[in-house]
Symmetry: C2
Subunit: 194 residues, 2 copies
DNA sequence: AAATTAATGCAAGGAAATTCGCGTTATGAT
DNA sequence: ATCATAACGCGAATTTCCTTGCATTAATTT
C-alpha cells in the first residue's frame, strides 16, 4: 500500500526544487545526490531509496517539468498558434535551466538501445498533433507534424544546444517559412496521408 | 618545456581508444576514469593529471575525432555535394558511437556561461561555408549557411537526439526541400548579404 | 483514536573516486 | 653520450559517494 500524499509529496517537491536550483547555479559535473540532499534538507538515504540514481532523479524532474509546462495556445488561427508556440519555446530555451534539463534528457539515451522519444517529448508531440488536427478541421491547409518538428522545433533546439538560443523574433521567421511551404503546396488540403 | 611526442603521444592514443571503446560498449553513467585507466592500461593518476575530469577528457576525444573526420565532398555540383554530406551525417548519426560523442558536446555546456559553438562544430561550419562559397562562385543559387543548418543539419541532429536517427533516404528529402526553397527564391543570385 | 506499516531520518560501514608523495622512465636539449 | 626534468607508474591516503540496519515519524485504514 503506497502513500503518495502528505510527507512524501513534500519530500518529492523539496528534492525537485533543489535539483532545479542546482541546475541553474552549479556546473553539471558537481551535481550529486549528496548535494541535492543538503540543499533540499532531505536525507541522502531517502533520495537513494526513492530514485536510485542521479540520472533517474533527473528524468523524474524532466517529466514533472514537461507535465506542468503551459499548455498550447488555441486562438482559432494556426498561424497565430504557431507563432505563440514558437515564441514560447524560444523563450524557455533562453531561460537557462531548460538547456540543462535537455542535458538530462540526452543523458537518458542508452547505447544500442533503440530509444523512443523521451516522455517529455512524446507528450509535446501529442499536443502539437492535436493543434494541427483542429486546424485541419477548420479547413486550413496544415503542415504535417514532421514538417513542424523539422522546420520549427529542430532549429530551435539545435541552436540552443550547439550555439546560441534563438531570439523570439527569429523563431517567428521559422514559422513563416513553414507556412510558406505549406501554402505553396496548395491551399486546398488533399487527403491526409494515412 | 613540453614533451608531446613519444610516450606521451602513446598514452594519449591509448586513453582515447579506450574511451571510444567504452562509449560503444557500456552505458553512459558507468563511464569513469578508473575504468578508462583499466581498459587503456594507463594509470589513473596519469589520466587525472593530464585531463583533470572525465568531462574534459571527453571533450578532448571529441575534438580529436572531429579533426580526423573525413573532409567534405566537392563534386562540382552543390546538389550532389549536399546529398553526399547529408547522407554521411545521417550515417554517422546511426553509427552508435557518434550520438554518444554528441552527448559529450552537450555536457560541455556550462550554466550561465554563454557558450559559442563547440570547436567541433565551428570547424564543420567553416567547411560548409566554404562549400557554399565555391558553389556561389560557379554561379549556382546557394542557400545561406543558416538555411543549411536549420533545414538539413538541425533535423538530423534533432531526430538523432530525441527520437530515432533518420534514414539516409530521409536525409536526401531534407536537401531537396532546402534546394526547392532556394530555387523558388530566384535562380539569379542577388548580392551576398554581408 | 488506535493500529498498521510506508516512508523518512540517522549513523555507521563499505565501496568507489580522487589526490598525493615519491621513485622511475625516457624525451628533448646540450 | 650526457644531462635535466617532463611525464609516467605505483601505492597509499583522503575524500566523496552509496548502501544498510535500525529507530522514528506520520499517512492511511478500521
Amino acid at each position: 500500500m503506497q502513500r503518495p500524499g502528505g510527507r512524501s509529496a513534500r519530500v518529492r517537491s523539496a528534492v525537485h526544487t533543489a535539483v532545479l536550483e542546482l541546475l541553474e547555479a552549479r556546473s553539471w559535473e558537481e551535481l550529486s545526490v549528496p548535494l541535492v540532499a543538503e540543499v533540499s534538507g532531505v536525507h541522502q538515504a531517502t533520495i537513494y531509496r526513492r530514485w536510485g540514481t542521479m540520472s533517474a532523479l533527473l528524468n523524474d524532474v524532466v517529466n514533472e517539468w514537461s507535465a506542468t509546462t503551459a499548455s498550447l495556445p488555441s486562438t482559432g488561427s494556426l498561424r497565430d498558434d504557431l507563432h505563440i508556440y514558437a515564441a514560447a519555446v524560444a523563450k524557455s530555451l533562453r531561460d537557462g535551466s531548460v538547456p540543462l534539463i535537455l542535458r538530462a534528457v540526452v543523458l537518458e539515451i542508452r547505447p544500442g538501445e533503440r530509444h523512443r522519444a523521451s516522455p517529455a517529448f512524446a507528450e509535446r508531440e501529442r499536443q502539437l498533433q492535436l493543434m494541427l488536427d483542429q486546424s485541419a478541421e477548420r479547413g486550413e491547409s496544415v503542415p504535417t507534424l514532421a514538417e513542424l518538428l523539422e522546420l520549427v522545433v529542430a532549429p530551435l533546439y539545435f541552436y540552443a544546444l550547439f550555439t546560441e538560443p534563438m531570439a523570439e523574433a527569429e523563431a517567428a521567421r521559422l514559422v513563416d517559412r513553414l507556412l510558406d511551404i505549406v501554402a505553396r503546396r496548395g491551399p486546398n488540403t488533399p487527403e491526409v496521408t494515412s
